[in-house]
Symmetry: C2
Subunit: 340 residues, 2 copies
């Protein structure tokens, strides 16, 4: 039995980009389990934009991680010890809101053994069947309520959330245009994910490209990014459009106040519904979302990519891949091997 | 029978504030009525912030008024001639989306005779029982869905819409804080309208005053103004707050791009619902709103003020009262006498 844990501890709050020393890898002894607890060895650590939010001393949807505390995060783990009747060593679980740790000690009652789905790799539970998949599913289906024939635009379209949003919208019969940051991502969006068009915001005039690819205007803007791209989309919204407000990744590293959309008044003129949401609010409905997404996955209707970085020691540096737009699909750190 | 009409014609699009010459008062002959038409002499012309929007060449919720066209607007009129069976000379009607004209020629089928309500003056049909009252009623009740005990903030609180929003929210059992631009308005809001507190944004630090008067945060922001006041309110929204986006009067005269709220990200973190709306979308439900507002009026639960400017020739200059914050309650121009 392993007696030593490794965890990433927050030492200083990043100013702008994360720098060496903001997080420190520390070793600590593992305490014996209490009744009802289990120990899970992390297989895949999920890296998400929200990790960056939690490092800042701002009043977000959860309190910031305290200085000196272990970084908050989740992923897929395998049970190594259990004092909870419902879980046995070898069971694989989604650790939920746990820690950046080689081993997490968790209340067994908060976890459920993941099912084995034919042809679906374990990494799917970090993406389409994990928090990012649920973010896409509920943000689009519950807030935006797409109707066949409508035009949907999604930003950060090749990311973990965006890549699912675009494909779910296609399943609903929508015209879907994705905005992403490289030709390779745009190619994936059209050729693999089956979107109607993709816009490379780094090389194209986003407004002109939206005019070209959305000749009937935009009914749904699934917002992941903020900033100028959001403004260009807002300017082209149709009457009674909907805008699930999922993320504003362009602003999370900002050190100065960020102006809201210059086209804010268009939200009034177009009678747009904007709804901020955080996926944890949908936690009670996760089974419904996972069931539907698993069905689509097994039917081959959802493609997904996982950007896997090897080695727990690379977690902090890898987070920057999200902000530099380097990942295609879900970014994870592989901390240990999958069970045989 | 009067043979000559007077109308205000848009000659040039205002840059910033409306200036002399942007509108011109012209006389024109009255054409004979066609079958189904009626002629209504304007008694009260309604002046509203939206009039200013219609003068700009922007893609708002209705097309702009064309240069050389009669200014769009509505109010209360009395039928002087009728070729429509349902209306007779002497009947009083709400002219709806008509024109800035001494006489409007209208399809009779689009109008309904206004009822006489005991103790309720005719001006009520320009305010609580008119478009501004319906804006307040549906924006608050249908979008914000107030619950007893919640905290509601309303900007432009002493205006035609805001003054109704605050009182309806009080009827729903909410704590209500109004933001207005003079001590006289604040006094009216607290002493006459019965709000819990009022903030004079011209003399007080709005953020500090909101902190004081909203110790439990803000559940509903009924937005009429935009700009810095909106930002201060957004910063203090509670989780799952609602924000009917009714007006952005602080920006309508702007000549440069206006940044959206700097606290836009808080709409995400707080899972706020923002919903732009235009009262004409609720037209099919007006009878429901008018019935409820009339009931409250007759029960003495709604106080209202009408800021009456005498003389049709003063219409364009009087519109600036809205932007300078001079009006308490509904601003109208009295164009002709009420029927005896």
């Amino acid at each position: 039995m392993t007696e030593t844990n490794k965890t990433w501890v927050l030492r200083s709050r990043p100013v702008g980009d994360i720098k060496d020393g903001d997080l420190e890898l520390v070793e600590s002894p593992l305490a014996p389990l209490a009744d009802g607890e289990v120990r899970a060895r992390t297989i895949y650590l999920s890296l998400d934009p929200t990790n960056r939010i939690w490092m800042s001393d701002v009043d977000a949807y959860l309190p910031p991680v305290g200085l000196g505390d272990t970084m908050r995060g989740g992923g897929i783990g395998v049970i190594t010890e259990s004092r909870f009747d419902g879980l046995q060593p070898g069971d694989v679980v989604n650790t939920g809101l746990a820690h950046w740790a080689l081993y997490n000690t968790l209340p067994g009652a908060s976890l459920a053994k993941l099912p084995t789905l034919p042809g679906v790799p374990l990494t799917a539970f970090t993406g389409p069947l994990g928090a990012t998949g649920m973010t896409a599913y509920f943000g689009l289906m519950d807030i935006a309520k797409p109707k066949a024939g409508e035009t949907v635009v999604v930003s950060a379209a090749a990311g973990a959330v965006g890549s699912m949003v675009g494909q779910i919208a296609k399943i609903q019969g929508c015209r879907v245009v994705g905005i992403a940051g490289s030709d390779a991502k745009c190619k994936w969006l059209v050729e693999t994910a089956g979107l109607d068009a993709a816009i490379n915001y780094k090389t194209e005039d986003v407004g002109a490209a939206l005019d070209k690819h959305c000749p009937d205007g935009i009914d749904i803007n699934f917002e992941n990014v903020g900033g100028e791209i959001m403004d260009a989309v807002i300017a082209r919204l149709n009457d009674f459009s909907r805008m699930p407000l999922c993320g504003l990744i362009s602003t999370y590293n900002a050190t100065d106040p960020v102006p809201g959309p210059y086209n804010f008044a268009n939200l009034l003129m177009r009678r747009t519904l904007v709804k901020g949401f955080i996926v944890i609010d949908y936690f009670p409905r996760f089974p419904e979302g996972i069931q539907q997404m698993a069905m689509w996955l097994m039917e081959g209707k959802l493609k997904f990519e996982t950007d896997i970085v090897q080695g727990f020691e690379n977690a902090p540096a890898s987070l920057s891949r999200l902000f530099e737009g380097k990942n295609l699909g879900k970014l994870v750190v592989q901390v240990s091997d999958e069970p045989k």
